[in-house]
């Protein structure tokens, strides 16, 4: 136990359950908190879904618009582009929630001046992070289910069309979100309160090069290599591939998984390094006291 405890890698289910219980207490009481989690993704889905429907209507009446829409969708029809857009909104929410579950949980403890109580409790860093993973998964399950049901009734978009590809696509976005969350928190260790805004900014910073709403081919040539370094790119390209009925996406999944494993390991070291660095500089004490 000593070695894993020293490295902060020990994970005891009872302690993770303890950390999760406080989120349970918060969410079962605070309607506003639940609303905050559900409101924005549902609004995104509703607004962009209807915008897409509007484009679809233009497509049926204006051939020129249809051609343009087809071109921007990488050769897909306007109807197909709408399906892609709805799928992308639901999938991007998975990435965003996974990232937020780590970075915002940490910031909430910081703002409520509770972080010191957590740091001096007999829990490891891995247990703290594991609890945020569990809470993130629960949030994503609830919000994604709600969005999928809404998408089905409002736009006849059936997420189950993705069939078995749904699980690996979901897992890849989850792991990438966790990596981003740990990276954001590590940057708060390094730069202090001034880096807090990154908790909300980071997912949107990588969104343009993640092929979320459009294929990589739409990007300028010089930017495309950057997009191919992002695991989410392969997830969203794979999602469009399946929705367009173009068959197997094993290659996409393999590359996304390999990149995710690589980044997760690198970010874990970065997180541990920044935590130790904050201890040496006294920055951790300034942050939590």
């Amino acid at each position: 136990m000593s070695t894993s405890s020293q490295l902060g890698l020990l994970v005891r289910p009872s302690r993770v359950r303890g950390l999760c219980s406080r989120y349970f207490y918060i969410y079962t009481r605070s309607g506003f908190r639940v609303l905050d989690i559900v409101f924005w993704p549902v609004m995104d889905l509703v607004v962009w879904g209807f915008v897409a429907k509007y484009f679809m209507r233009l497509d049926t009446t204006t051939s020129a618009t249809a051609a343009a829409a087809s071109a921007t969708a990488g050769g897909a029809s306007a109807g197909g582009a709408i399906t892609f857009l709805i799928g992308a909104i639901i999938f991007f929410n998975i990435l965003y929630r996974a990232q937020q579950s780590i970075s915002v949980s940490f910031l909430e403890d910081l703002w409520s001046r509770n972080l010191l109580n957590i740091f001096v409790a007999p829990i490891t860093v891995a247990e703290f992070v594991a609890a945020t993973y569990v809470v993130g998964i629960a949030q994503i399950a609830v919000v994604s289910t709600l969005m999928s049901v809404l998408a089905y009734f409002l736009y006849t978009f059936n997420i189950l069309t993705l069939s078995f590809a749904l699980i690996p696509l979901f897992l890849n976005l989850l792991v990438m979100g966790w990596s981003l969350g740990m990276m954001t928190t590590a940057l708060v260790f390094r730069f202090g309160h001034q880096a807090e805004a990154l908790a909300w900014a980071v997912p949107f910073l990588i969104q343009p090069v993640s092929a979320v709403f459009y294929p990589v081919s739409v990007l300028p040539t010089w930017l495309q290599p950057v997009a191919y370094l992002v695991p989410a790119t392969y997830v969203f390209e794979g999602m469009r591939h399946v929705l367009a009925g173009q068959g197997e996406i094993n290659r996409y999944l393999l590359i996304a998984s390999a990149l995710n494993v690589l980044y997760f390991v690198l970010v874990s070291f970065f997180f541990g390094g920044m935590l130790n660095n904050a201890r040496e500089r006294g920055a951790l004490a300034k942050l939590v006291v």
Binding site: I26, N114, F119, V120, I123, T124, E280, G282
Partner: protein, 253 residues
Amino acid sequence: MTLNQAVVAVDKLNKTFGKVVAIEEVSFAINRGEVVGLLGANGAGKSTTIQILLGLISPTSGSLSIFGLDPWKERVNVLERCNFSSAYVALPYNLKVIENLDVFAQLYGVPNRKAKIASLLELFEVGHLASKLTGGLSSGESTRVNLCKALLNDPEFLLLDEPTASLDPDIADKVRKLLAQVQKERGMTVLYTSHNMKDVQELCDRVLFLHKGKIIAEGTSAEILTQFGQASLEEVFIHIARDQVLAPAEEKP
């Protein structure tokens, strides 16, 4: 007493931040069941010392052991037997008192959580606040709830950082008396920091005075008063803070 027999043993601890020396060659030991006051003006190195003990700051050099264990290598094992309370740390405001205590009871692996929480709330006379949101408590109530959290795991070593700060004299007196009672009953080892010299004189068996990162005086309150020729610890504090005293290394032969 040797360093190995002490609950806390600090030996030649140094911490520098760049060119700034925060603490220098700090050594002390705390016996089992002893209450030691760590005093010093702002910037004396008191916070740095506590934060090193809590594992928030890594020392530049020197050694530290708690229960004979290296807290950096045996962090979880050490922290399971310790606890901490500070006037400057809060429990999440959006949870009820009982929920906050339940969460921390789980984190500390406390058996029979409900009974333990109920007995502590009763001890600190805050049982009626169990279902109240923590954010709605007064300073005095909040302090007592924080102390309930600090005693959940029956700690062998308790760190108290200005627990009576911002309390009115009546509540401060109640808290002081309760702490003294609990400490005696359980034989807890306590490291206590405060700017309230009455707290220190009443509660502490021994006092360490830090000045410019060094321990310049150590002993019982009576010994300290004799050493500095002052009538109260407050006068000693002011005497030291106003730099009217030389650190041991600076003393004239």
